[in-house]
Point group: D2
Chain length 362, copies 4
């Protein structure tokens, strides 16, 4: 591809997810950072002065002196895409205002994930959902603007390997999942150190419900005529989730047990082959941020581990290991996702790359 | 009880579990530390000189200058009980030699847990298994010596609440469990800090098998005539376990989903009542180390937590929280055990207290 | 002592320090918790409902259902002592109002520490400073009310061993100190886990200045006639401090190098003897919360350590170890303080016990 | 430079430092990995099979199937340089044998650091020491072989900024340093997690002595005729060190106070300029692994921090911050070094690059 770069904006640019957007987009082959949006308190000042940068790479030079804008459409009007890392308490109104102003929004916020007009897109799982944005525009009488959401980080961790299984062996019946989630998933300042040092917190508000619900929308298909999402297509899938916060900086780990809907069960070797052979449309479209492998299969009995494996393919893949028989269901395994990359900003970016490749961003 | 104190010995006295035995027994109302056994390297020296004491309470004064013995029966011959905190690589031979020398051994090692003559006793679950020691003596032609084992720490964490459910609602059909286990479970030096800081290791060698197997022996009954253990009594129980090591010092946490065998399912309120109302024989026998409550039920949505709750009742109870419906099975909950106390030394000590109360130690 | 219990109040009762006050005072031989003060938001509700209790011991039964008051003098008027664990942003006004209402305030807040009328009292160091409260009352035309402050936690960690050296060898000339401070020193939620996991933060705002300044007031004497504090009495002492936050829950560790003012230098053995032989007035007065030893001297080369040694004497002592020659100054050593106990609430409580014994609380 | 690649060997290739050598050399512009040496147990097997790889980047493809050799000279005879990451208990004999076999050894081990014939070279500090290798060869009657050591990691952390000060303001008189060192400095398995979670260990065996002694050799000059090292050249420098282990994975932090020998003291601004303007010969020689800046000066009051700053310039620089007046000496500051890179393997590699540029490797 050798088109001229598409100008992009970043909302919530000083926050945890916003910083990741900046890191990913500062040297992106398709996109060029054009505008940064943050709270009124930061607006009018240089980015480097108002951000508490928390990444181990320095603030990109191209962004240091960029003047931060308020989160209103006007300064973003030249943007071909606006990425939103806003907190959910403000994301709802702002993203809607941007869409109404005919801007394209790829959002990491949860506000529109359950909206029947909005694709809930995990780039390695359901890129076909993008086509519902035309119906979204039609219903809202818009010509260019739309919203696409990516999924919650812990949902993303499991739907990628579940999709690999579904592609190979058909629908799933039952999924039991227990997560061990990193502190960065709660943002900054997020989790108090007094709550998590030498500790595990066996509860993350709303998280289990998100996993149980989002999985159905993502693994479900698109309704005929692309007029919405078929939540029943993923039936008879039942998901039960247990979510825990652990003292890990980045990387959500999950223990998953799966029962297939079909009578005939694949062998462990067949399941392993399904994981390592899983190829996604983001890869065949040659999206620049797509990982070399969607699912990296580990052979060592004690892998994947967050600290050692979260950086594989720049955090854009899901690692899977310990594939083995389950006494109760058909197969169990462990999976790992970099929650701040494929679990957040990287998902939005690959989603936008898919949209570019498919002609939804111009 | 106002009998004169029973002399006890501690094998593996310088190790992690041995230190806990010393802490528990230094001021015990029934027992008096009489002999300490360790490796030949330490034998002949004062305890304080050869131990790398790792507890936050100081070495008890009464033990500091006690001369350490080799792990042979002779110096322990006056002991009414010998507690074993030996590593499994030496426990098998040494414990057998002690039993053959007509000594009573309460062991934390795994070597004899699957032995059909040896009770695998969790003091808050199956104290009735003690009566099989008579058959053990008879088969081995011994008059006084026998071995009793306590369970693996992660097994103990779940069988206590499972027993409470079984007592209230009858047999269980299915148990899915994912553990998050403390580093102290691996002993000292045990887990390298490079392996666990900012990390989770989703594998503990042999641990899942122990949970899956031990649960059946513990929840199973005693054969007619107390000639062994009825592994089938716990049927149709199927257990599937996922074990993880997390950067927590003490306290194993587990997420558990349970399906009852009976058609009629209890309500969540009934399950909660079963937990909080669970009373064990260790309590009714007034064993001095038994907890005030066997299962402590937590109401806060984010409890139990290892750091905040592991010290309840001096680590002799199991905490349960988040009792709620499971989308797949009947009920799910979180439980917490202090792995170095009820999960190890405290179990052996309460087991011995039960044996005293029932007349098996004289 | 067998007087009837003195009613006490606790301000900031739901905070980190307030919770420690409750833990210490719930079973105190002199004091009885009579009133709990917190923000208007909590006032009128039961304590257990409004506190996010973060200690590993449960909320004392006697306090659970106590109704929380606003921090105004009226509901505390029967209190013989009011302990303040208030944040500094509100402590100034509230503590002054309590004093004006003729109440006795022992405060952990920093607001009045530099006040020339207010004793800055470390109970194991300068209990004689209490007598200045009479001058405080006289100047403010009060008959009963006064304020006494305890020192900043990191200051407390070093002044106790420095006092032991001064008592034995006369004035000090130079003290270089580098601290490694626990996260609990910053309160709750305090330090974000993203800032401190796998990290050290080499900066704590205002902390170095506090150590450098407070040390002079504490080690200085009382002016003739007890009309204030002789900051010059500690001359020629110069202190240079470096403060760091480390991922430790409780326990501030410090590396200290000291130069004595006198020409003749003590030997390392003499310094060790000065530490282990240090006896304080809090001990001779038999204050119930005073530690068995003011300074616990460790022989092992790698002690004291926060996790293993912070609980000695219920956190009311200072641990000292690694006493050795310094290439630059005369002697260097490592010291450890439990910042949430002797570094905060325990100091206030022992200060109040001293005041009782000396007749300043009636 | 467009010479053909120099074949290199790596001793101790499966260890912590050896893995870093492999990571650095797998894509190096001058060097090509030719032979890997490890213990007899690993010899004869493929590298990927015998290493417990602990880096977050995968084992380089070019090395995975390389067959590991025993640490004897024969299989390394074609190597222009042999890098040694051996443990000190075997490094002495093996490195000597390699040198005797006319091989050039750049070693991270401590064995020859105090040898009067062996340069103790920190690449950003004393590259001129390399010329003593000619005298080393002459004394040992060798034509090609020699040994060069790099310094201990914590020494390296401080000598780089100290050299910057010395270059700008002349000799130093006094250096007081307190380190907070990462667990990776102790190798693998190294520090037990039970010793360091929620803890600081205020002792690292031999470390304080290394800092105090090595600093003099490194900052000292070369004797006339390059016949050794002038330990007195660094006089009147006195160093006093306090070393602590903290729960940080990578990155040694140090608090340093410095007194200059000269009467006239630089201002803080002049000191800051000396740090940020420090240029080293490794940079002017354009060594490929030299950092863009030798000392990165931080302005934020709470930087440098290990987790956020250790990756700057791929861990090849030293970060300095908090430059300010010291109440006792002239200036104090905080510095940070990536102990596993510039503190170990990267130092050896830049040292070898310097040797190439200066014609000592052919």
């Amino acid at each position: 591809m050798s088109r001229s770069p598409i100008k992009v904006g970043i909302l919530g640019a000083t926050g945890t997810v916003g910083q990741r957007f900046i890191e990913l987009l500062a040297t992106h082959p398709y996109f060029e950072i054009h505008a940064l949006g943050a709270s009124a308190r930061s607006a009018g000042k240089e980015y480097a002065q108002v951000t508490k940068w928390k990444l181990s790479t320095p603030v990109p030079e191209s962004v240091r002196k960029m003047v931060v804008q308020e989160c209103v459409p006007e300064p973003f009007k030249e943007c071909g895409v606006v990425f939103s890392g806003l907190d959910h308490d403000v994301a709802g109104e702002i993203e809607d205002a941007f869409r109404t102003a005919e801007l394209v929004v790829f959002s990491n916020a949860k506000n529109y994930r359950r909206d029947p007009l909005v694709p809930l897109m995990v780039p390695l799982v359901n890129p076909d959902h993008i086509e519902v944005v035309k119906y979204q525009q039609q219903q809202l009488k818009l010509s260019k603007g739309y919203i696409v959401c990516n999924a919650n980080c812990s949902t993303t961790a499991i739907v990628v390997p579940l999709k690999a299984l579904e592609v190979a062996f058909g629908p799933l019946k039952t999924v039991m999942v227990t997560t061990m989630q990193a502190i960065s998933g709660a943002g900054y300042p997020g989790v108090s150190s007094l709550d998590i040092l030498d500790n595990v917190v066996p509860y993350i508000g709303g998280e289990e419900e998100k996993i149980e619900w989002e999985t159905s929308k993502i693994l479900g298909g698109v309704l005929p005529g692309a007029t919405g999402f078929d939540l029943h297509a993923a039936n008879p899938l039942t998901v039960s989730a247990n979510c825990n916060r652990v003292p890990v900086i980045d990387g959500h780990l999950a223990c998953v047990s799966v029962q297939f809907a079909a009578e005939t069960k694949p062998s462990i070797d067949e399941v392993r082959a399904a994981f390592s052979g899983f190829v996604t449309e983001a890869q065949t479209l040659k999206c620049p941020s797509a990982p070399g492998q969607a699912v990296v299969l580990h052979d060592a009995p004690d892998r994947p581990q967050p600290r050692l494996d979260r950086d594989l393919y720049a955090g854009a893949c899901v690692s899977v290991g310990r594939v083995r028989d389950c006494n109760i269901f058909d197969v169990k395994f462990v999976c790992l996702l970099d929650n701040v990359r494929l679990g957040a900003a990287t998902s939005s970016v690959i989603n936008a790359e898919i949209a570019v490749e498919k002609g939804y961003i111009v």
